[in-house]
Symmetry: C2
Subunit: 754 residues, 2 copies
Amino acid sequence: MIKNKYTSGIIQYIPFFYVIWSDDLLSASEINIVKNAIDNDASLSKEDSSLLLQWLNTAKKPSNKEIKSWKQTISSTSIKLIESDIHPLSNFSKRLLEYYFNESIENKQLQHIEINLGIQPNHYNHLFDVEVIHEPTSNYYNSGSIDTILKGEHKTIVNDFHQVVKDPIFNWTIERKKEDFRKKVLDQVKFLAKEKYGAMAYPSAYGGTNNMPGYAFVFENMMYVDGSLAIKFGVQFGLFGGSIQKLGSKEHHDLYLGKAGKTELLGCFAMTETGHGSNVRGIKTTATYENSSDSLIIHTPGTNDNKEYIGNALDSKMASVFAQLIVNGKNEGVHAILVPLRDENHNLLPGVKIEDNGYKLGLNGVDNGKIWFNQVKVPRKNLLNKYGSISDEGHYHSHIKNPNKRFFTMLGTLVGGRICVARAGLGGAKMALTIAVKHALKRRQFNDSIKIQEDLLMDYPTHQLRLTPAIAKAYVYDITLQHAMKIYSDDSKTDKREIETQVAGLKSVITWFANETIQECREACGGKGYLIENRIADLKGDVDIFTTFEGDNTVLLQLAAKGVLSDFNSEFNSAGFSAVLKLLGNQINDKITTINPLYSSKVDAKHLYNPKFHLHAFDYRTRRLTYSIAMRIRNYIKSGIPSYQAFLKVQTHLLALGKAYSCEYAYKTFVSFTEDITDEKNKALFKKLGTLYALHEIRTDASWYLEQGYISGVKSKAIRQRIERISTELRPHIDVLVDGFGIPEHLITAPIAN
Amino acid sequence: MIKNKYTSGIIQYIPFFYVIWSDDLLSASEINIVKNAIDNDASLSKEDSSLLLQWLNTAKKPSNKEIKSWKQTISSTSIKLIESDIHPLSNFSKRLLEYYFNESIENKQLQHIEINLGIQPNHYNHLFDVEVIHEPTSNYYNSGSIDTILKGEHKTIVNDFHQVVKDPIFNWTIERKKEDFRKKVLDQVKFLAKEKYGAMAYPSAYGGTNNMPGYAFVFENMMYVDGSLAIKFGVQFGLFGGSIQKLGSKEHHDLYLGKAGKTELLGCFAMTETGHGSNVRGIKTTATYENSSDSLIIHTPGTNDNKEYIGNALDSKMASVFAQLIVNGKNEGVHAILVPLRDENHNLLPGVKIEDNGYKLGLNGVDNGKIWFNQVKVPRKNLLNKYGSISDEGHYHSHIKNPNKRFFTMLGTLVGGRICVARAGLGGAKMALTIAVKHALKRRQFNDSIKIQEDLLMDYPTHQLRLTPAIAKAYVYDITLQHAMKIYSDDSKTDKREIETQVAGLKSVITWFANETIQECREACGGKGYLIENRIADLKGDVDIFTTFEGDNTVLLQLAAKGVLSDFNSEFNSAGFSAVLKLLGNQINDKITTINPLYSSKVDAKHLYNPKFHLHAFDYRTRRLTYSIAMRIRNYIKSGIPSYQAFLKVQTHLLALGKAYSCEYAYKTFVSFTEDITDEKNKALFKKLGTLYALHEIRTDASWYLEQGYISGVKSKAIRQRIERISTELRPHIDVLVDGFGIPEHLITAPIAN
């Protein structure tokens, strides 16, 4: 026995107490964990117990002298801290006991503390001044099983796809010349069509499996190959093919859908005009029915009314053109018409003019172009007529009488594209995170003067805060988008207004998240992140436009907010406000509960980690914003301000509501998913990711919660500390977490990630 | 006289009261303006005055019925609102009086209200339901005089430069192939050298004018031509030439400085290594003095110790190589040595290996490369020996005995480069803002159903909030960087530690600002912003790396924070902490005043617009953060945690301090500059820009201010509303504000801006 001032009972607890008191983060519920352990520890004498409990008194923290004496007791031994031990701190204590007392016992109570406090070697390994047998990562969790949880029933489809893209045609190379790049991407798209991925979401009669959720998975995974591939693929099969599938009738399907899926017919989706981006209802291209020839005359009236940014414009033989349909002098609103663009020899047909959009910030493998029509005549049957048709007698007919409703029903069929765009953005973020984490686990920078080796980037708290919450968010959004796609694809549910609102919000929030995350990863990789070879640069350029296309985020968030305001009863995408106004009455009666001061100051870990708290906070925010917007609009209207102007006045407020609603929706979805995970270990991990997401979101809007008195200053600070703490706790598992995204190794070509 | 229920006295005030009450933004001081006007209005009867004053009672707001009746009184006339009137609302009132009473008077009191409330047509032109004679922009301010205020004494230099870059060699074109792009940029750099811009910052003996501040202006303006040009130029003249100028002695100047300024000698600055980015002190390249040959042997020891991202590496004949200088077996620390790389025929010299870094996210006109040295021998005199030399007898000598201090003195001479990088980033942001604003003043999107024409993007509140605070910040940062450069270039001040701290912070904050702003502009321009032809895409790619090079922002902010913590007494850039720790004692005694609840709830406009409030808030934040970090570090040290670890634990806290300090410094500088503007009209404009900057910064950190109880929830909301309000107030002047940046028309080539 080596002399020291403590008993054998006490000595085992010293590493724990040193860790606990060197940092002041323990809350009441955490101190209770230690208390219970001491109470249940039969190996302790009464005196030992009483001394230990005394040391737990937060009101009378042990003196610095005492703490230093603990440290001395530890560092004067030559005991090593072995991070790969299952219970590193308990084992360290065990060795300490052996050193001083030659006793060897396995103390279950210490293990209990270690597990339940969630303390990790990287929380304390620097505190002891002892040699640390370092483990840059832990394999406590298994990335394969995480991947399985994420992919669910789609695992086989995704894994098969990974095999398919092993073909050398998919090898990533730097392409600077757009012509070469486009040629390569077109070949890739054709290759995938041959492998039946193009038709995947179509009915079996047209070569597909009717599997839209599977299609979305494959689409996201295409981002790991190349962003241009994903977008070109999406234009051909999702937009062009999708418009035929969703807006056309069987005749169109028979003629074109199978061919589109096989890339025998290349097509584009000509909706956006130079002068009219987000305001589709205001497009100017006309499709005028000519009785004498039984044809539609497609025409671009003014200089800014040409179709713009049309993907696949240079390769296409045909376009799905959105135009104002005019029958017998009456404008029946926007409809889609199939318009042939080129002949067999790829020469433009008479009246069609197409120009290359030229180089872009990213996606240069996609041939975007402008299209003008000069009195182009197509047969009447080219009208995609599911929601509006022209009879043999030349009369317009639609089973949806309300033109507003008809318009939004047509657009609504394209909501799947928005989910896919969000998924692709998410894929970009996952890829960037994977690269940045792998780099940070190799790259060293600066050190403690006593150490030879510099510290890993990943061991810096700022680096953890940069990447870890983003990883948590990626998990939450993945599950959320899967859920949204499931709801959207469920044909038994015909009223899609609620899911359309949700998707509008999610698309905005997630594509913004993707851009911010990729930027953060670029900076986290320093100069290496700037080199094209490391892939993040391309991801940045490609994903950038996702915030604009398939609906500008700012516009979509306002639509989402209007959906919430009208309790999903308004016609979606409606620029009119009547439906919203009509329903504001109900909303305004919503009672907001006052927040109990005890609740708003509750900083205990148990409370802060409880999903009930998070859900309550998100619900409170959405409801409160809804209420205050409704009140403001009502007051404006009452004092005679026109409704359009009233909505303009609350525009920034609407954006906040759109975001708040999306955040709540995402977290609710994730919590409910997590509850169904059967494996307890992974369930706990997913729960922790959810908690990090939730606390980070509350933190982002902390100024609002503080303004409302929903949280106190003390609670706000506690939330900030918990975010840092969870990020550190997840540090040993960060490699497994990015591996859990399931990006196959052969697609992670970035040299810095290898 | 046309019948109505109001007197002629009242009728003139009705448009004002309608505007005031339809929105609830008036604070006590603003209501006082109206009260005073009424009191001073001799045209009013006693009854009229009393009724009007009654209508001003915030406790008893006029009924909705009353407000609607006002509106009815207005809209039933056919009076137009003419935005181009000098006092549009007063003139509108005047015409109302003429309409109802056939009286024509010019009411000075109404004009007084209009001017002092700062109400603008775009605040109210939608409220009246009358025809508006619209003015998309106002020319109340003059962009030329704003430009003059910004450029100050450097105006001629900058304007001359604008003429020089009219040469077709500077025409902007899309360059995709790096070889062609680099060739073009090199030619541009040579052209500018011929025009004497290269040597500008050098002494006259070497072709210059010793004008570093002028150089910085020219550098920023180069960004309007092309980012690669600016960076290539900066590498050749600022880094390579600058290292000779600042670290060498007269012998080096005579041999190389003149040649460098004329591009007769192309050189690079070889500091960064693959394995050592931010940690310059840890670089591994060695320069070993060999007595026998009186030479230095330059050597790259390990695989990751090569020089990396070295700009100009492919064109250079010589490099300024940073290496560990070893003399007689002793490492004397990092020194710079001139090492020839290539012979006359541009063949690599023996022992030198150079590889192209390949394509990057941006700046592809700059030839970045990796350099390896294999026992390369150079004469002893190639050591840049201002701060450390080797005598003829082969002994090392330096007049700065402390190696730490010597190292940071050498690095400190390069701080000018950081100011230039920040300026270049700022230039990128200004250019993007100019393009986005010009686009938003042409582009229309959606409309009120009653209007034919869609609304201008710039008229949307969300768009104003997106761009206007960024414009205000650009003004503040411009003035701040000018000031910092002045201090830095002042040779009479030898202790540069304070300005180095300031520049470290500013470089971080401003390059991040630049990136965020360019991103915001990209999104604000929608799909058009994504096209390379519109320039924002390139700005994004080019400016991106500014957050990393010349010091990674995260690292620099921590250095800035350490400077603040040690009251600028620590050796700058010090990785050691002793100086900081020594000085923490003083700081900890700093008394933080408690905030009076009346102060924290003050929401009056007068208070919120008062620079004293802003300065107090910034000072409070910096001091409070300094204090709490110091306390945390002291407590860690006291409980035995090593200082390196203690600093790691407060890392995120340090970043906050670095930012807070920079924000305070920038605003202080701007306020003091504004006070010196002699022209009252422009002074008021600059003051408003400063206020917008300050409120926006306080808003950004609102959660912290709320946590501290420095502002109440009500005040936080009021600040948010004021930001929106000022952004709207500046709406008519937004075109003049971006023109005030002084980017010449011939450089704004983006089609969407024309």
